[in-house]
Every structure is written in structure tokens, then in C-alpha cells.
Symmetry: C2
Subunit: 615 residues, 2 copies
């Protein structure tokens, strides 16, 4: 799709006051990464077989899957070429990997996402050296997935009902689904693609339950792909998003696997049924922690996509004169529009930096654990819980705000904004549900508040609790540091209020858990506990308006710096050239409903009614 | 799908403390309406041809349309039977009509929605007596739609570029699309179904523009359905929702229609080109006002659907013991869940009552207008603007909250919650965009604040502005009346702050329109301007917790009282019998991806990779 660049966008780029490339290099963590990323972009995006004639949204549910699986194996081949000899690619969304491009190739999600991103990495992290030597082969026939959630059990994973019972007579585990609610439900790629999976199940030895463990189970014949005896597997049906992935269900009818298929790096079952406990409970939750950490960067990337689309569109779109004798203005000139969009650009940077910081912390803590030092794990875990919840909620709210800021055209699938929202909002739920994680964060805060209230020593990160109790907080200041101080005061004040409610419920004779449940709404709400005054708020409001005006001329430059290619944005509204209406019309022309001048339903249904008395 | 009712739901219904049927009658505005509604439900829902073997979400874009149009003409026939001789059915979502059932039949929207709901009613409201006699025929061949928005023009309708130029030599109007951005875009049913439409265009007579007027244009041949010469029409492609309706685009290449095709009840163009102005400008915006009024009740109905699904599911779903030695609890027992769901039930009742009140006000004001009295129109218009904005935003946020409260299963299309969200969020944009309408409301408030500030007489409805200036507000009271007083104080305080910012910008040398734009972020935000204290908030918090506990035992009864049939809810999670997991598995079994044991893509794409070295 050639064509001139929209005049308004040319002007916007001309008036940008900073070096766009320089910001791109900062985002990529260095110019050398930008160069490498662009090389990979060029290499993959030039593979013609990856591009559709008819956009994915026109296809039926079944065709979508088949189209995606075709592309997935092309991508898999490329990944293997790029990472020769290393089929673990976990460096999700970091500058030099290829995940971002996949958003464009699939306009959705790679059905092999779990196979590539979680199946192999979990084996690498949790299987013993011998198991790794056997399973991590470049020519492995396994297409795997990670199977945890059940129809009846999600957030409360201890409630999982699938059992793995050790049979010492045959040296096997018997995997079993005791009832309908125990059917596995949701894993990506499970429905039709995977022939193997890592299954989370309750381990039973001699009638004793040892809790959840992970087992490698083959579920389909490698050669014929038919489900093995004792396996009931299928696809769960259409979802709000992720429809290129065959999320599946799975039931076991006393399905036997070798004892050596339990992942045994940190925990073992010996031949005689002896159970060897892990050194540390948290070790088995590593996969979930890693996923939460990488998710933050992924969400930052989704925010940058939404911001790019909405800002470019707002520079091209004209609506209403601000003064009645003027021509219609770029909607980017409206302060209410700036308010909606600029915060999305800012949030993308915030979560990118936080995501990178968490990624590095995770690396450091993992290295410490290898040295036998678990000390930093609880704080990393608490931070990942809280940040996963907040970033997913923020990102989905802001993506939706960008979509709505594009008016009716943002409702078109061809804008790609509905798909980015469907993708982003899923993250509010999966891998730790929002409210559940916030309540975990609240427990963590209340734990340290109790220490503060009892005047016991606090970790450095919670020193501000003590300041709050001693009223050591400074008077509100309208500066970045002052605002951070203000947020600390709000956290301390809210935690105190929650703690007091809890204590009050306890004094009224409630048991702790009931008292906690009763207080749980307050625990997730916010209010003002700082010393901010009406005048301070007015000053901040003025400053905010000034900042919006300062950012305005650089808005297009700021999103250009994200440097996301049109093939990845997949948006009629957000392309670099700003040919919005031309692209919308070109996309509409691809609709199969426009192939025939008259749709056959006219003859079948319409004409018999409208021409009834005329023939 | 037979089967026993879920035990938990049986218990919930047993402990309900009020008469569910009585509440249903209140919702229906009387028992006689309930009876009539149920008769219509039974009649229509028993028509077998209206039900699919394969759910709509599995179909391709084209198949969806064809399936929907088949049903639409069955429904049209039924509507004509039910309302013999009266093909205008505008009493949208009021108790005794059949709109609600359509949500279930189409799992989406009727492609003839605009034909039935807006095309005929606009002719009835805006066409002259002679035109009505000609066009409103029961055997009319017209399938119509309402065509206003253009690719480049939505909210600012004065910017519409399509022209209707009078040619007095032939007594015709020439409809023309001067450029790409002037293409009509969005009308439902326009793409493939409609053969006629009401077009909003700029009227030109002898080189003078008289602004926007409505014209009836035939666009396809009634007999062959082929587009007429000079007409470029087609379908715009997939959207976030409304995919059973063929939203379309339309361009005119000097398309001629008779002069008598302009809607001439309130305004006329005579044979010699004389333009006869309407008595009142606002008269031509009647269709939009009516749509906004009816939308409020529609959104209340969508809220009742979402609440029914989420509450029933939350009574069936069990997750986590509250105390560690207990069995897992119904998630409806968690206060954080009650907080998310009960407000949805309450909001549905609020908007239902407000919608009914607006509907009756609209009837009264319309009757007044017929008597020549336009006095009440501006206030009704302002109220409809504000309530349309608030109700659509509230409803979509609450529907999404209900969806997220159902966890991962709420992400399944079979829950129907994603579709209800897609349907509801569209209302934030169409028929008056949220921010645009809020800013109109703000202008209205600021206008009366200026009167108050200048100590000029105020209408009764704005007396509280004067109270606020004179500091006549009472001290905060924790009672319903006290809360209403508090809201008045907030509105007054916010309006004052906006007005002051505006004045300040003006004093700094800004012109009014620039000053307004600069202040427009503040104008759409909220803050506390009442005399409420920390203690008051704590007391309200306790009262709120008490109320959640009081409502809890009646939650299922409250949603049962909405009396929405399973065929309309279309939800595996929300059915009356609560057989959640059974229905989820039954729905999944309908997936075409589960028809073949091995999908053909295994042989084409998977096997060549996984078995490469094994053969």
C-alpha cells in the first residue's frame, strides 16, 4: 500500500523538538539492539507465506486455527534458525527477540506460544539433569503445553482435583480426572495441537496426599496424532481474544505414565515410593513468577501499540472547529484528548522500565537461589503479585481509553484496538486474578503495618510506615519527590484504616478469616490520606495543563520513537503514513461480503418479502 | 438441555426473603404486562427455525450475516403479525415489546434493527402527510436504513460533506459524495440488505447552503437488488460487536432523486427553489433525542443480563475456603465479589426507572410540541445528553466488572459476557460520544452557574447553585437525603471550579473557545466538595458492609426477578439451572474443531516437523 504521507503527520514530525532515533535507542536499551531488532524484523516480515490475502477476522473459528497453525510452524522454523541449538526462548519482549513481531503475524497469538515460552522453560527449570538430557532434544517430537487450571479450579490451585497416584507394582503414576469439575480447561495449544503436556496434579503415595506436582504426559500418538487411550481432549470454543490458539480441555481416565515422568529437580519419588521433599516450598512456583515478571514488559509493549495508533489517528482526524470561524481542528488539539492519550505514552515507558528492572531482579534472585540464598524471594514474589495486578488493570483500562478516544473507527477490527484490548484484558485474569493478587498485596502490607504498630523493627522499604505513625511526614510539596511522599502517606493511611477495620472486626468476635473477608472491600479501594490542600490540587491541575501543552508538539514523535512497524500495528488508523480513510476503504474492500454485488440471501429471504405483492 | 438444578441455587432460592414474582411485576410495570410478555416470549422462542445448531461465534463473517438475515425476516414476519397494520415499533425495551428476545435470537443484533426501529419512525416524525401516505405502506418494498455519519465526520455533524443540490430544471436533488472522507460509513443494514435509506446531506439551492436535511433515496433496484447507477455501496468489515448487522459504506456519484424525496414535515423546498425554514431548529434532531431516551432502558436491560449471569455463577462457583479447615466457599460469599455484583443489580433498577421516566417525559414534551409549546425541549435535551453519556459509561464499566468477576470463564464467548460488553461499550460512542456529551452537559451547567454568580434568577432545578454560593448547605448527614445533598454540593463545587478556571483563562487573554478547551479536562473530572468528614466516610463504609451482608441472601432472588429466559441470556454460566460445568462442556462439544479426531493441519504442518527424523 504505497502513497504519500498525510500532510498533518508530515507537519507533526517536522515540529518535533527531540531526536526520535535517540529515544528509540533508549527504549531498545542501546543502538546495537535497535540494529539487531530491525534486522530480525526485516528477515521475518519478508517471509511472504506469513501474510494473508483475507484478514484473519473474516475467517470461521476453524479456519482461524488452521491458518494460525500454518504460520506457527513457519515461525518455529525461523526461531530454530535464529537460536540454533537453543530452543528455550524465554527472554520475552526484551529488545532483541522476535515476540513482538508475532503480534502482527498472527494478528492475535501464536498457537505454539506455550510450547515455545513455557513448556521447555519449565522442563529446564524443574526437571532433573537426567530428565533434561532425555527431553530437551532439538529433534524432539513433542509439541507441548502447560496444564494447570481446571473447569472448577483456577485461582485456588490447592483445590485442583486431578490426581497422580503412584503404583509401585508397575513403577508408574496413574493420572486421573475424578469428576467433571476436574477436567483441565484453558491451556493454549492443548485442543488440537499438543501431543504432550506438563500436568499439575495432586500426588498420592500409599494413600497419602503430598500436594501438587508437575508430570510430563504424552497425550497423543506422535505418529498419528490420535489421542492415546484414556485421554479425552478437545478445544474449548471461541473466546473474547486468543482465537488463533486452540485452548483445550483434557480428562484422564486412569492414564499411566512412568514414575520418571514427574519433574524431579527439586522433589523426588523413589522407586520404593519414598517421597523426598523439596528444600523450599516456593521453588515449585517458579514458572508462574517468571510469567508475571515478563508480563509487565509485554503489557508496556501493548500500551505502546495502542498509543501509536490513537496518537497518529488523532493527528490525522479533524473534528469541530475550536472557534466557530476556523476550519475543523486535529482532535489532538483538544485538551480532553491529550489527557486520554499522553498518559498512555507515559505509562508505556513506566511499565517498560519497571518490567526491565523486575527482569533483572528476577535474574539476580534466581542466581542467589542457585547459591542457596532464598532471602530475596518473598519480596520479589510480593512485588511481582502487586505489579502484575496493577500493570494489567492499568494497561487494559488505558488501551480501552485509546480505543474509545478513536470514536467509532476504534470499534472496527481493522483499527486493531479491539484485539489489543481483548489481549490485554485477559492478563487481568490469567496467571493470578486481579482482586486475588491485590488482596495478597494487602496481606503483605498489613503484615508490616502490624510490625510498625507494635513498634517492632521494619525493613528499610517499610520505614515510611513508622514515619506515618510518628507523623514524620513532611507537608505536601508540589514536586515529583513531594508526590512520591504523598503516595507513601496514602499507602500508610489506607493500610492503617484496613488494619483498624480488621482489628475492630476481631474485637467484635469475628475470627481472623471472616474479619479479613469483611474488610476486603476497603482493602482494594483508594482515598486521600496526604496533607494535600485544595490549593495544592489547583496548582497541580495548572501544572498538568501546562505539561499537556508542552507534550502536544512532540506527541507524534514520541509514538514514532516506539518504532513499531505497520505490519505489527495492523491498524488502518495507526499506520506510519496516516492514510486513514484510504486504508479503511481498502480493508473494507477485502470483505467477502463485498465480493458479490448481490448476496444470495436477497433471493432466499429478502425478495420473497419485499416483492410479494409486486410480481 | 435437561437436568437437575444445581443444589447451591436451590438453597439460595429457598432462603430468599421476598416474593420474586412480585418484584418481576414491578419491573414489568404490572402483572398484566408480565403475562403479556411471557406469552410473546413463548410464541417467538418456540419458532424452531430461529435456533442454530452451530453457535453463531463459530461462523465466518459472511456466514454470520447470512444466518442473521434468515432469522431477521422470520422475526419481521412475526412482528407484523403481532402489530398488524402498524409497522412502526418504537416502544423500545418497554415491557410488552419483543426487542429483548432478539438479543437471544441473534446472540447479537438484528440486521433490520435500523429498518424497524429508526427508518420508519423518522419518516413518521419528519415526512409530510402526503409523503407518509405514499411511503408508509404495509406492502412497501423498501428495506431502509438511516445514513448520517461519514468516514471523516461523526460527532460534528455540521461538518458532513455529502451534498444535495437542487436542480430546478428537472425538479430533482443531486446527491453527491465530493471526496473519500464524505463516504457514508456505519449505518446498520446498509452494506448488503437495504435498498433505500434516509440520507443526511447539506442542502444547496442556487449556490446557497441551507445546512443539513434528510432525504429518502433508493439505492438498490427493488427487483434485482443491484446498486442503482451512481451508487457505490458495500459492507465495512468486522467490528468488536454487532457482527450480525451489515454496517455499510455509501457513496453517491451525482445521484438524482425527486424533489419530493426531501422529508418535508417541518421544512420545505418548493418547486421554484424557494426554501421554507422550519419553525424551530431543534425539530430536526428528534430522531437522535428519541434514540438517546430509549437507550437508557436498553442499557438497564443489558445490566440485568450481566448481573443475572454473574450472580448465578457466583452462587455455583466455589473457590478457596475462607477459613483453612473449611470446604471451598461460594464466591458470592466473598465481600469483594458482592461489592462488584450488587452495584450492578442496583444500577439496573436505577436506569430502568430513569429510562421509564425519560420515556414518559419524552411523550409529554412531544405532545407539548404538537401544541406549539417548545419550552421543555432544551431541558429534556440536556438531560438526555447527560444521561446517555453516564448510563452508557456506567453500564459498560459494570458489565465488564461482571465479566471479570467471573474469572477466566467470563472470557469465553459461551458466557455471553464478552458480547454483552461489546454491545454495551458501543453505546459509549454512537448517538453522541461520551466526552462530547459530557462537555455539552458542562456547558449547560456553566451557563446556569454564570446566572448564579451574577445573582440572576435561576430555574428551580438549579436553586442549589445559589445555596452553595450563600453557603446554605447543611452539614453532611449519613442518610439518603444527606447523600443527595452531598452530590448537589459536589456538582456546585465542581461547576464553580470549572467556571473559575474558565474566567482565569479568559483574564489571561485567551478567547472563550480556547479558554474552554484548556479547562476541558477539569470539566470532566470529579472531586469532593461536600462537608463530608473522615468519620462520615468510615460510618458509610460500615453501613455499606452491613448492606452487602443484608443483600447477600437475596442476591439470586433479585436476579431471578429480572425473569430473563435462558434462550435470551445465552450463557453457560448464567442459566437458571446453574449447570455451569455441564453446559460449558456441552457447548465445547459443538466446536467444529472437535468434529475430527485429528485436524488436517497435523498432516500438513505439524507431522513434517515433529517426525522429520523419525520416518
Amino acid at each position: 500500500m504505497g502513497g504519500r504521507v498525510n500532510e498533518d503527520l508530515i507537519k507533526e514530525r517536522r515540529k518535533c523538538t527531540f531526536d526520535i532515533k535517540e529515544l528509540t535507542h533508549i527504549i531498545d536499551c542501546g543502538e546495537e539492539n535497535t540494529i539487531k531488532r530491525k534486522q530480525i524484523d526485516n528477515y521475518i516480515l519478508n517471509i511472504k507465506e506469513l501474510w494473508d490475502d483475507v484478514p484473519e477476522e473474516y475467517l470461521s473459528h476453524k479456519e482461524r486455527y488452521e491458518n494460525a497453525i500454518k504460520k506457527a510452524f513457519i515461525v518455529l522454523k525461523v526461531l530454530r534458525q535464529l537460536h540454533t541449538g537453543n530452543i528455550q526462548i524465554t527472554d520475552h519482549r526484551t529488545p532483541t527477540n522476535v515476540y513482538s513481531i508475532q503480534d502482527g503475524i498472527f494478528r492475535n497469538v501464536n498457537p505454539l506460544l506455550i510450547h515455545i515460552g513455557l513448556f521447555w522453560s519449565t522442563i529446564a527449570a524443574q526437571a532433573s539433569t537426567e530428565q533434561q538430557a532425555e527431553w530437551l532434544q532439538p529433534d524432539s517430537s513433542m509439541i507441548g503445553t502447560y496444564v494447570q487450571t481446571e473447569l472448577g479450579h483456577g485461582s485456588f490451585i490447592r483445590g485442583i482435583e486431578t490426581t497422580a497416584t503412584y503404583d509401585s507394582t508397575t513403577d508408574e503414576f496413574i493420572l486421573h480426572t475424578p469428576r467433571l469439575s476436574a477436567y483441565k480447561w484453558w491451556p493454549g495449544g492443548l485442543g488440537n495441537t499438543a501431543n504432550a503436556c506438563l500436568v499439575m496434579a495432586q500426588l498420592y503415595i500409599n494413600g497419602t496426599c503430598h500436594g501438587l506436582h508437575i508430570f510430563l504426559a504424552q497425550i497423543r500418538d506422535f505418529d498419528t496424532h490420535k489421542p492415546l487411550p484414556g485421554i479425552k481432549v478437545g478445544e474449548i470454543g471461541p473466546k473474547m481474544g486468543f482465537n488463533t490458539a486452540d485452548n483445550g480441555f483434557l480428562g484422564f481416565d486412569n492414564h499411566r505414565i512412568p514414575r520418571t515422568n514427574m519433574l524431579m529437580k527439586n522433589v523426588q519419588v523413589l522407586r520404593d515410593g519414598t517421597y523426598v521433599k523439596p528444600k523450599h516450598d516456593k521453588l515449585t512456583y517458579g514458572s508462574m513468577l517468571l510469567t508475571r515478571v515478563t508480563l509487565i514488559s509485554d503489557l508496556a509493549y501493548q500500551l505502546s501499540k495502542a498509543a501509536t495508533i490513537a496518537v497518529r489517528y488523532s493527528a490525522v482526524r479533524r473534528q469541530s472547529p475550536i472557534k466557530s470561524n476556523e476550519p475543523e481542528r486535529q482532535i489532538l488539539d483538544f485538551v480532553s484528548q491529550q489527557h486520554k492519550l499522553f498518559i498512555t505514552i507515559a505509562s508505556s515507558h513506566v511499565y517498560r522500565v519497571v518490567g526491565l528492572w523486575m527482569w533483572n531482579s528476577h535474574k539476580r534472585v534466581t542466581a542467589d537461589i542457585h547459591e542457596g540464598n532464598m532471602g530475596q524471594l518473598p519480596e520479589l514474589h510480593a512485588l511481582a503479585c502487586c505489579l502484575k495486578a496493577i500493570s494489567s488493570r492499568d494497561a487494559s483500562a488505558l488501551v480501552e481509553q485509546c480505543r474509545l478516544a478513536c470514536g467509532g473507527h476504534g470499534y472496527m477490527m481493522a483499527s486493531n484496538l479491539p484485539q489489543i484490548y481483548a489481549y490485554t484484558t485477559a492478563a487481568v485474569t490469567y496467571e493470578g486474578e486481579y482482586t486475588v493478587l491485590l488482596l495478597q498485596t494487602a496481606r503483605y502490607l498489613v503484615k508490616f503495618w502490624r510490625l510498625a504498630a507494635e513498634h517492632k523493627p521494619l525493613p528499610q522499604n517499610f520505614a515510611y510506615f513508622e514515619d506515618y505513625i510518628k507523623k514524620n511526614f513532611e507537608q505536601w510539596r508540589n514536586s515529583p519527590e513531594g508526590i512520591i511522599e504523598g503516595f507513601k502517606a496514602i499507602v500508610a493511611g489506607k493500610t492503617k484504616a484496613a488494619y483498624d477495620t480488621l482489628q475492630c472486626n476481631l474485637r467484635n468476635g469475628r475470627e481472623f478469616e471472616e474479619a479479613w473477608n469483611m474488610a476486603s472491600v476497603q482493602l482494594t479501594n483508594a482515598s486521600e490520606y496526604s496533607t494535600i490542600s485544595r490549593n495544592d490540587i489547583e496548582a497541580l491541575q495548572s501544572r498538568y495543563e501546562e505539561l499537556l501543552a508542552l507534550i502536544r508538539p512532540n506527541a507524534v514523535g514520541l509514538v514514532d520513537a516506539f518504532d513499531i512497524r505497520d505490519e505489527v500495528l495492523c491498524s488502518t488508523l495507526g499506520a506510519y503514513d496516516g492514510r486513514v480513510y484510504e486504508r479503511m476503504m481498502e480493508e473494507a474492500s477485502k470483505s467477502p461480503l463485498n465480493e458479490d454485488v448481490v448476496n444470495e440471501s436477497f433471493h432466499k429471504y429478502i425478495r420473497p418479502v419485499t416483492m410479494k405483492n409486486k410480481l
